[in-house]
């Protein structure tokens, strides 16, 4: 782990040099600092473009924000020595949507529509964490009907599958295996089609809401799920053949983007990145929520902390998710799909035609919103990217006072410079892909 040098010296080509304080240092001095993170402002970097390159000066290359392999609008300023990446400065904010500010103006029932667009590859997780935080503030988190919780688990695991298939597709594409892109999307289409049948939308579902889920599972959902599971299982074996055993794929991913467990913990990494270092931390197993303590699955753990481990972890997590879904099919009870607490839940649609109270009740919930008692809470779930957390503060009104989503990709972008150091530019592409950032939750 690179430590911040508090004694303000650095080892350079000419021996130990005292570092000038940052404010006084010009671009040339800053570029002699040892470390992984390039800490220069964009104006300073632009100024170096006009300098005459000297012997010990490195080149700063800008990658993005519009670039085919930065997984969205991520901009990286790479400091290069030849083709070796020395330091990196990730520049984000190109997709900043002000969602946390918007979240303070939307009611708790409208909240999931907002947060679902943060991590848009796995939207149900955002909705889940928002709903769990709201329910904890409301105090109803122990009263959500079991069927609702199992449905939430089912949808989340299906979403994990589709997100990991997206990762496999883009990982293959970034490394040049273009056919993997088409294969991954083929499977993802099946999952999205199933989610469309259940929730009504292919993406950004707004289905998991405080109190339960928006609607019950439609007829024929079981066949749909079984069909997806039966389709995916042999195809994952195909991907193993196509990618895992393939020498070129291995050579490009093994040993690339290595991060140790201590570095990962210090940088706040979670999810597949942390598990690839050997630490078996999975919130579903270690701090279970919903009914994850009642299903059997393995937390997939790597050993080398490199990009190949992260790929293998995600591939096998698809298999584990499929196993969880099969268990959910057997365990799903009958019952309500949302809590019957009238303060939170709108009445059934049919009753609105019959009863005036039901109409008013529905109207009030959807226009004013329900009020949540004041307090603050932090809830977290294990999203495909890592720990997705929601810190919510309420002041007793119908809108959250403060809604902060702890996006795992935001924290992982910090870890990028440490993983890119010493590699080639081509490895940079592979490493960014293995971190699997979704810029919607980086920038929010």
């Amino acid at each position: 782990m690179t430590s911040v040098s508090t004694d303000a010296t650095a080892r350079t080509y000419e021996g130990s040099q005292e570092l000038t304080p940052r404010k006084g240092a010009g671009a040339a001095e800053l570029m002699r600092e040892v470390g992984s993170v390039l800490r220069m402002s964009e104006a300073e970097v632009a100024a170096t473009a006009d300098d005459e390159p000297t012997e010990d000066q490195t080149m700063i290359l800008n990658m993005g924000p519009q670039h085919p392999s930065t997984h969205g609008v991520l901009r990286l300023m790479l400091e290069l020595e030849g083709e070796t990446v020395l330091r990196t400065k990730p520049v984000i904010g190109y997709l900043h949507t002000g969602m946390e500010k918007t979240g303070e103006t939307l009611t708790y029932l409208q909240g999931p529509t907002n947060v679902t667009r943060m991590d848009y590859a796995s939207p149900l997780f955002n909705e889940l964490v928002f709903s769990l935080a709201t329910e904890t503030l409301l105090g109803i988190d122990g009263d959500i009907p079991p069927r609702a919780q199992w449905i939430r688990m089912l949808l989340c695991e299906l979403n994990r599958m589709s997100s990991h298939l997206l990762f496999l597709a883009t990982n293959g594409l970034d490394l040049g295996a273009v056919s993997m892109m088409l294969f991954g999307w083929r499977e993802r289409e099946e999952t999205l089609r199933l989610l469309e049948m259940i929730t009504g939308l292919r993406m950004n579902h707004n289905f998991i809401r405080p109190g339960g889920v928006a609607a019950d599972l439609p007829d024929g959902w079981r066949d749909g799920v079984l069909r997806v599971l039966d389709l995916c299982a042999p195809r994952l074996d195909e991907y193993d053949e196509l990618l895992t055993g393939q020498p070129i794929y291995r050579a490009r991913l093994q040993g690339v983007g290595v991060i140790t467990a201590d570095e990962a913990i210090a940088l706040g990494a979670t999810g597949p990145i942390l598990r690839s270092t050997g630490l078996p931390w999975d919130l579903r197993k270690d701090m279970p929520y919903l009914f994850y303590d009642q299903v059997e699955f393995a937390a997939v753990v790597g050993s080398y902390g490199d990009a190949f481990d992260r790929y293998a972890i995600r591939l096998n997590e698809v298999r584990e998710s499929m196993a969880i879904v099969r268990q959910i099919l057997g365990a799903l009870p009958a019952g309500d799909y949302r809590i019957q607490d009238r303060k939170v839940t709108p009445p059934p649609r049919a009753r609105i035609d019959e009863s005036m109270e039901a109409l008013i009740h529905h109207f009030k919930i959807f226009t004013e919103g329900f009020k949540v008692p004041e307090g603050e809470v932090y809830c977290a779930v294990e999203s495909p990217r890592g720990e997705l957390g929601c810190y919510m503060v309420s002041d007793g009104s119908a809108v959250p006072y403060r809604m902060h989503i702890r996006g795992p990709s935001f924290v992982h972008v910090q870890a990028l410079p440490h993983m890119l150091r010493g590699g080639l530019i081509a490895d940079a592409v592979a490493v960014i892909s293995s971190v699997d950032p979704i810029m919607g939750e980086v920038d929010r």
Partner: protein, 185 residues
């Protein structure tokens, strides 16, 4: 078959009568005022106590991960602030979330930051993973973190004026007038 109760895991039922006991224990153990919010333990260090407390928590108590760092602007808060008696409420609060892999527990720290002196010591030396999180808090709230290696805007353009998540910063919505849709089905 399934239990009737899911593991909620968040609003733990370390219920009302136990809450007093856990917060009292926490106060003696960590030396700062403590409260409990929906069953989650919250510590309230002052700005001066923050870095040492976090360092102690990391080295001695096993809270090795700083999982989240954010801030709240209580300017427009309409409910009474529930803080321990010896903590003066200020406009801003920096909220730090910690996680222990060994004991599977979370801990939250809330630090009061006054509006006229919106600074807070940086946790970068203790947890390097707070670098981007503190930059976001600076960008959104204007709270400066001393000893941070590179405190600059991270989400907004570098020359942006104002701190968007402050309560006195407007949402910026433009009034929209919907015209008749021609292709209406």
């Amino acid at each position: 078959m399934s239990d009737t109760q899911a593991t909620s895991g968040f609003g733990k039922e370390s219920v009302a009568d136990e809450t007093g006991a856990t917060t009292a224990q926490a106060e003696t153990r960590f030396g700062v005022p403590a409260t409990s919010s929906r069953g989650q333990l919250v510590l309230h260090p002052s700005r001066d106590q923050l870095v040492d407390l976090v360092r102690t928590l990391r080295d001695d108590e096993g809270y090795r991960v700083c999982i989240d760092l954010t801030a709240v602007d209580y300017l427009a808060y309409e409910a009474p602030r529930r803080l321990p008696p010896d903590v003066t409420p200020e406009r801003f609060e920096v909220v730090v979330g910690l996680l222990s892999h060994d004991t599977h527990e979370r801990l939250r720290l809330r630090v009061q930051v006054p509006a006229d002196d919106a600074t807070c010591p940086s946790l970068f030396d203790v947890h390097p993973g707070t670098e981007a999180l503190e930059r976001e808090v600076y960008d959104m709230y204007g709270i400066e973190f001393t000893d941070h290696p590179d405190l600059s805007r991270i989400l907004m353009p570098e020359d942006w004026d104002g701190f968007p998540l402050r309560k006195d910063h407007p949402v910026g919505a433009i009034p929209v007038q919907f015209k008749g849709v021609q292709n209406a089905r």
